[in-house]
């Protein structure tokens, strides 16, 4: 048996490979449900109900998908340029810090100005945070995987310091949380009696914008060229370093917007747990989407559905909701293997 490169893969193959992989992943996790001694069908049914089964469940899933769209886009953009940004979590919190700083009294504008200002401030913060590892990579050949990973811990400790120290809200009954964002900075609700907020629309808009930039513009072409073949890009006269820096600013900025949607949308104020690993899950989201900006929306909703579904499954049949993390990780690995099916065909002999 050997692998033979495919010259061309049909659209259907490209679309079906990840779906097949996800099915396999969900089935594999069935073994864990059996190990936990829970009824398999009932567990999956509870998962599906909790994810999409009602108006409320659906709205919760879309709310949870919102930050994942942003962190997923951040990874999709960076990985296209082979910039290994694993610092989405840190950039998310950098954005959350900027949003809190602007949104809790630094300035006050009418909402139609305030919200764009908050998003921009956060994007600048996230972009700058990723700029440091990127400049170190370009100038001093410092591996960006390690630096972005380590910066996550530094940023989180800094947030911890602010929330236990100078930014602690005196009205929070001792909880480590910042003052609430002013009303004009809050993202408006989309549907009554749900938590779904304007951040989701912003996420959809960002996905379309990133797709247009990557697919139809000069910049997007340069980003893809640098990622596919850097020496060829140099030869073609593409300014590689400038392209990598632009990619970093875009990627860091996108991840930071996830912080805004959580602080100004879902929560209304900054806490230490606004992100249960959205930055890391963004990697899985982007890989499930094959790094395609529009597919990121679908895969973010899918991953959010798994997380919300697992929460209600854990209540219904008593399985730890860490199963959602396992499912996402298995899906990531399965999709990675399925990418081989798109690139190669298996030949006997």
């Amino acid at each position: 048996m050997r692998l033979e490169p495919r010259t061309e893969a049909t659209f259907w193959l490209r679309a079906m490979a990840p779906i097949l992989a996800v099915m396999v992943a969900l089935a594999l996790c069935g073994f864990l449900i059996l190990w936990a001694g829970a009824p398999l069908l009932e567990a999956y049914a509870a998962l599906a109900r909790g994810a999409l089964g009602s108006r409320f469940a659906l709205s919760e899933t879309l709310t949870r998908a919102t930050p994942l769209i942003f962190t997923g886009l951040a990874v999709a953009v960076a990985f296209r340029a082979k910039l290994w940004n694993i610092g989405g979590e840190g950039q998310l919190y950098a954005g959350a810090l900027a949003a809190t700083w602007v949104g809790t009294g630094a300035i006050d504008l009418p909402a139609y100005l305030m919200i764009p200002v908050i998003f921009s401030a956060a994007a600048v913060a996230g972009g700058l945070l990723l700029l440091l590892p990127t400049v170190l990579k370009i100038r001093l050949k410092v591996d960006e995987v390690v630096t972005t990973l380590l910066l996550n811990f530094v940023v989180l400790l800094f947030v911890n310091y602010l929330l236990f120290g100078p930014w602690k809200d005196p009205l929070s009954m001792g909880w480590p949380q910042a003052a609430p964002v002013v009303d004009s900075g809050l993202l408006p609700n989309l549907v009554d009696r749900t938590r779904l907020h304007f951040g989701f629309v912003a996420g959809l808009a960002a996905a379309v914008a990133v797709w247009v930039v990557m697919r139809f513009t000069h910049w997007g072409f340069e980003i893809r060229a640098v990622g596919l073949n850097t020496p060829a890009a140099v030869f073609a006269g593409i300014p590689v370093n400038a392209t990598v820096v632009r990619t970093a600013l875009l990627s860091g900025g996108l991840a930071a917007c996830a912080g805004v949607t959580e602080v100004c949308g879902t929560k209304g104020y900054l806490t230490l747990d606004i992100s249960p690993g959205f930055g890391y899950t963004g990697i899985a989201v982007a890989m499930l989407a094959g790094l395609h900006p529009l597919a990121v929306v679908v895969s973010a909703i899918f991953v959010a559905a798994i997380y919300n579904g697992a929460d209600s499954m854990s209540r219904a049949v008593g399985i730890s909701n860490y199963l959602a993390d396992v499912m996402t990780a298995v899906a990531l690995l399965a999709v990675l293997v399925s990418s081989l099916l798109v690139q190669y065909r298996i030949r006997r002999g």
């Binding site: 692998l3 864990l32 190990w35 936990a36 290994w84 694993i86 170190l136 001093l140 050949k141 410092v142 591996d143 995987v145 390690v146 630096t147 990973l149 380590l150 910066l151 811990f153 530094v154 400790l157 800094f158 911890n160 310091y161 236990f164 120290g165 890391y280 990697i283 899985a284 890989m287 008593g318 399985i319 730890s320 860490y322 199963l323 993390d325 396992v326 996402t328 990780a329 298995v330 990531l332 690995l333 990675l336 293997v337 990418s339 081989l340």
Partner: protein, 308 residues
């Protein structure tokens, strides 16, 4: 402070998981495979070793179980990154996500309703007769637990195998020039897979050290970036076992110092800034060393038979 036995003993103790992890990662990278699964593999080693002892198992068997599980994770990594030639970055992150979530899931499943983590009887420290009576340094180095001695022994062993045996030459060759190794009749894929399994077993033992030697319980998020620090230490050590030991000890010394300064000056500087130090230091170490870093030439490059 620098003459106190406690400080140096703490340094050696805190260096132990870093030594296991750094040597493990070094072996993987010398064979040309970046193993970003380290953080998750250490978590899994910590969980499984603790669970083994908690369920009535013996301490040394627990170490063996952790090593075996680590090797199994290494095999999974190798199937993806070596045999299938998939992206080492994504494979590693995937393994970390899977191994750590599976650890937490299993822990919750086996111990559903515990709020305070139950404790076990960990390894006890062994004073080596004679050597442990040397003032300060002897007391610090030779009154450790068995796993610390094992970690210290791993370094010369790793050096000897890498630089003085045909096996070590083969490992370094597949990491530098796999085509040349293949033309010598070496099985590049098998050697790489073997190196990743061995390295992952060591990482897992580093995790096990935390739960069954230095602490006596398993906590969520207890690895806390130690795996990523090990990856930085490998670059800092320019892929040499001796320098890796030095790096791990230096790093642990800063960490031990940080805790003592933090206790002395808690009112002046908030403790969070002290906790940032290990991560900031790792970045600084990378900045200093990266300019002249001699990466294994074939690091991150998958090898496929018959493909150029």
């Amino acid at each position: 402070m620098f003459v106190s036995v406690g400080f140096w003993a703490a340094t050696v103790r805190m260096a132990t998981p870093l030594i296991f992890g750094t040597i493990g990662e070094l072996i993987c990278e010398r064979a040309g495979v970046l193993n970003l699964g380290i953080e998750g593999i250490m978590t899994f080693g910590a969980m499984i070793a603790w669970m083994w002892v908690y369920q009535g198992g013996d301490l040394w068997t627990a170490v063996a179980v952790a090593a075996g599980c680590g090797a199994a994770w290494g095999l999974l990594h190798a199937i993806f990154s070596v045999y299938l030639g998939l992206s080492q970055h994504v494979t590693g992150i995937g393994i970390t996500l899977l191994a750590s979530s599976l650890s937490y899931f299993s822990f919750r499943l086996l111990l559903p309703d515990v709020s305070t983590p139950p404790k076990i009887q960990p390894f006890e420290s062994i004073a080596i007769p004679g050597l442990s009576e040397i003032p300060v340094l002897g007391e610090a180095l030779f009154t450790q637990t068995a796993l610390t001695y094992l970690a210290l022994a791993t370094v010369p062993l790793c050096w000897y195998v890498l630089y003085r045996t045909p096996l070590g030459l083969a490992v370094r060759m597949v990491g530098e020039n796999p085509m040349a190794a293949a033309s010598q009749g070496l099985d590049v894929l098998a050697i790489r897979a073997g190196a990743v399994c061995t390295g992952s077993a060591l990482m897992s033992m580093g995790g096990a050290f935390l739960t069954i030697s230095v602490f006596d319980a398993f906590y969520f998020e207890m690895i806390n970036g130690r795996g990523w620090i090990c990856i930085a230490l490998v670059i800092f050590a320019s892929w040499r076992p001796g320098k890796a030991l030095f790096g791990a000890l230096l790093f642990a010394a800063f960490d031990a110092l940080q805790i003592r300064v933090q206790q002395a000056s808690s009112t002046l500087i908030p403790y969070q800034f002290f906790l940032m130090l290990p991560y900031v230091l790792s970045i600084v170490a990378l900045i200093i060393m990266s300019r002249k870093a001699a990466y294994p030439k074939a690091l991150l490059v998958p090898f496929r038979r018959g493909e150029r």
